[in-house]
Amino acid sequence: MTNNHLTRRQMLIGTACTVAIGLALRPGGAAWADARMQSGDGPEPGEVRIRDLGPGVVQFPLMSSLVVGDTLYIGSRNLTPARVIGFDLTTRRVVSRTDLSSGYAIQAMVASPDGATLYISTLRKDDDTGASVHQWDLTTPSVPATALATTGDRDVRAIAVAPDGKIYVAGGGEPPKPPSLWEVDPTTGAVTNWGTPDEGASIAQAVAATATTVYFGTGSTLPGGAGSPAKLFAYDRATRTPVNILPSEVATAVSVTSLSVLDDLLGVGLKGPGKSLLMNLATPSTYEVIPQTGVQLRRRGNDIYYVKSPSVATYSRTTKKITNLQTRDLGMLWGLDLAGDRLVGASEYGFVAEVYPATKTSTVTELLDVGAPADAQAVMGIAAGAGSVYVGGTGAISRLDLATSTVTRIRLGGEAKDGVIVDGVLYTGQYNSQGMWRYDPASGQPPAQVVAPVTGQNRPLDVCWDAVNGLVLLGAQNDTGGGGSFTTYRPATGAGTTTVNPIDTRQMVRAVATADGVAYLGGDNLSADGPRSTVVAWNPVAGTELWRADPGLPAGIAALATDGHFLFVLGRAASGLAVIDLASRAVVRVVDVSGVATDFGALHCFDGTVYGVSDTTLYRVDAATLRLSTVVTDIDGGWYSGPHLDIDESGVIYTMRGLNLVAVEDGARPRAIAVDVVAEARSMGSSMYLSAKLTNAESGPVSVKVTTAYGQKAFASVAAGKNAVASFNTRQPSIPAGIVAVEVTRAADGASTTRTAAYGAASTG
């Protein structure tokens, strides 16, 4: 049989000459290499069907850890309610839990001097009026934590306790209002504002206290470029007078990120200069430089340990040498403490890491395996296509396989703020300062970075696919310096490019859309001055600007979409949906979206309909009539940083309703074209063929053009209810997974759409 190239699945049935025999032969049991999109019956015309696909990302995301006695306490992130769990370092089990009455995340905790009380501080949303500091009696862990104090700053990012028990709190969160240093009385909860030593600061990320002095580290993040550089204030506790003691050697640092009292030293973490400091508490002008960025500095004798993501490092004050303690990827450790002969911290990946400096070995305990109370978290971004829906969480993404309804949690450091699926492969923009990542579920390999960010371009905002040029496009923001960047990545070659400040030095690239090989970049500007709604048409191949326009949206741009004729520009703060005619580059209409939009949002165009989602509502705008209508009210997605939606090849819209992923099929889409496309790789003869089938469910004819990696085929007219099948010889014995694109044009009104269908990798034999 081998010279006939037959496989078990392929049987010669008969020939012109042997019609009387051989008809008992049947295909074997194996199915075609089949990657059909699993799609049920679509909605009835006019019907909007919502399917609940379950929680978007279920895990125990975390943002802080602290060892007290034999227990590692771990603070949650983006879970409701915010919670702290106790991890027993002996049994390696989660043994206690308390929930907080306020906050969405816990970035800092500290224990009272006697170790009996845990002070827990919160990051809060703007409308959260609950406590910013809670207390939990560790002697009775079954009794929930209670609110202790509310400072005048929204966020608490660091907390310290002086030997006398007084609590000191640093944070901020509402720039341009500068952060204050706050003192909290542990008994009464009384709050005292010690002032704002740097009016130009926008964040305080570090605080430490001794019997005589409180150290308060400040810096800047938002808005871009407007704030002061890092400062380190030493407050005399008696006089409450601050003095900046940050050495001039590091005066241009962006922020003080970590402070720790290490016996007679103050360990100082800094963002920016690539250095950390060991300052003499008695004479701060005397200091030693560790030539590496680090946070959470700890000390044993002459060895200084610190977190250097994704590992832990040690600096020897004796030899002046730095040693990396781990080759295992620990992600970001949100805490580091000495516990006996090991260093202990909780990783953004959701595990507890115990690192033994003497042997450089480590033990990792997955929190979900030992009783951590996982929950659906507020999510970051979404991407749908090729049979998968991805939802970005904290330190992980979840993948829903629509065919099997199975959900896989994939470890990925940082937060996937947005993503797009190309040929079955996911590309994400990863916060913080991680650029663009790639994940191929068929590869069996973990995600990998494909484009590193340019320094400072830390916050990806929008990702889309330019099919004309074969480029993944990414817009980003520089949180600290202002402005933003535009990145392209070509999967075919692995080449990446980044252009910094393609709009101007203040506007980030909030949104990216593409049509006909042109990228459209939408700006937003967090500083008080300058343009904030500039749209730039950009040649993503040449890296050059083609033209620019400004629809004059007063609060900046939230999102872009285009159908190739119009560019739809959603203004922030529900300020309107400006429609730019791409031919004349003029604003032809501003659609009033005040009834459906809130502030941030997402837009996507499909089949001549623009879909938008806000914090409250999924809506559509007919690209032909510019008529606005509501698709789903009260969708109230559980987004961490602005709502998102994505639309798969079949036109199904994926977004969040609460903390659950939902699929929305819009039978009321104004210009929907009812066709179904499937593709399969099939072994015929000596090679693999690719077959694609289009089914026309319209009431009239459509014309069809099928495009694959192995050829094209056009059908001038496919009648209502009928099919078109195209087969292409790949001339390969095996082929990788891919997609076919089918351009469909409805004869009745000329409306057209391009549908894609995925096929799996397959081989002959």
């Binding site: 049987m11 008969g14 012109a16 049947r26 015929m684 063929y689 009648a719």
Partner: protein, 215 residues
């Protein structure tokens, strides 16, 4: 369009069964009944045959066993081209739905032998013969596809399909046998074209094109 008297006018294209069956077919087609020997002895033989019900059959037939290629205009002065038509190929399926496995899909492949000269000329490789399949009656549903055009090795485009009918090439296939079976039968043909360079030796050549139906 010019029409030349072809020096290849004797070219034959036989349709035959798969592989070794082809030889049997050719022999059968050439055979005649032996002359009777002795007196005839008539014997009445009676049989009653019921109409066939099940199982149905999937089968292929070809409306002819030979075709001739004639020279036509060549777009390329360095290439001689000879064209013809594949006799109509009919696939019939009389099976009931429950006789057809759910994922079955039939297809027809074709492959050609080298063109052999009748007077000792060097053979012309099968890579010089290409085809462009066309559905004549692909059925109402649209679930039958014609195979892609396969051009020849002398076509200067380096496209992957320019390999000629050396290997098995797709004439037609269905997306799914069970879904199209109610249509009963489908017909397909193909434009055939032989392309050679101008130095090819004159004379008659023949090749055998073997078509095979699979499921």
């Amino acid at each position: 369009m010019r029409t030349h008297k072809s020096p290849f006018s004797g070219l034959r294209l036989a349709t035959a069964g798969f592989g070794a069956l082809m030889l049997t077919v050719v022999a059968t087609a050439a055979a005649t009944a032996a002359d009777p020997v002795g007196d005839d002895s008539d014997v009445d033989v009676n049989v009653s045959i019921a109409e066939l019900t099940a199982p149905g059959v999937l089968a292929m037939s070809v409306a002819g066993t030979a075709t001739t290629l004639t020279e036509s205009d060549s777009a390329d002065p360095l290439v001689r081209e000879f064209t013809g038509q594949l006799p109509t190929v009919t696939v019939t399926d009389t099976r009931d739905a429950d006789e057809i496995p759910a994922d079955a899909a039939w297809y027809v492949l074709g492959t050609a032998s080298d063109f052999v000269g009748d007077a000792g000329q060097a053979p012309i490789g099968a890579g010089h013969l290409g085809w462009a399949p066309h559905l004549i009656d692909g059925g109402d549903s649209g679930l039958v596809a014609e195979g892609p055009e396969v051009a020849t090795v002398v076509d200067d485009d380096a496209a992957p399909d320019n390999v000629g009918l050396v290997d098995k090439e797709l004439l037609a296939n269905t997306w799914n046998s069970g879904e199209v079976a109610p249509e009963g039968s489908w017909t397909v043909t193909a434009d055939l074209f032989l392309r050679t360079d101008t130095t090819v030796a004159a004379g008659d050549y023949s090749s055998t094109l073997t078509l095979s139906l699979f499921e």
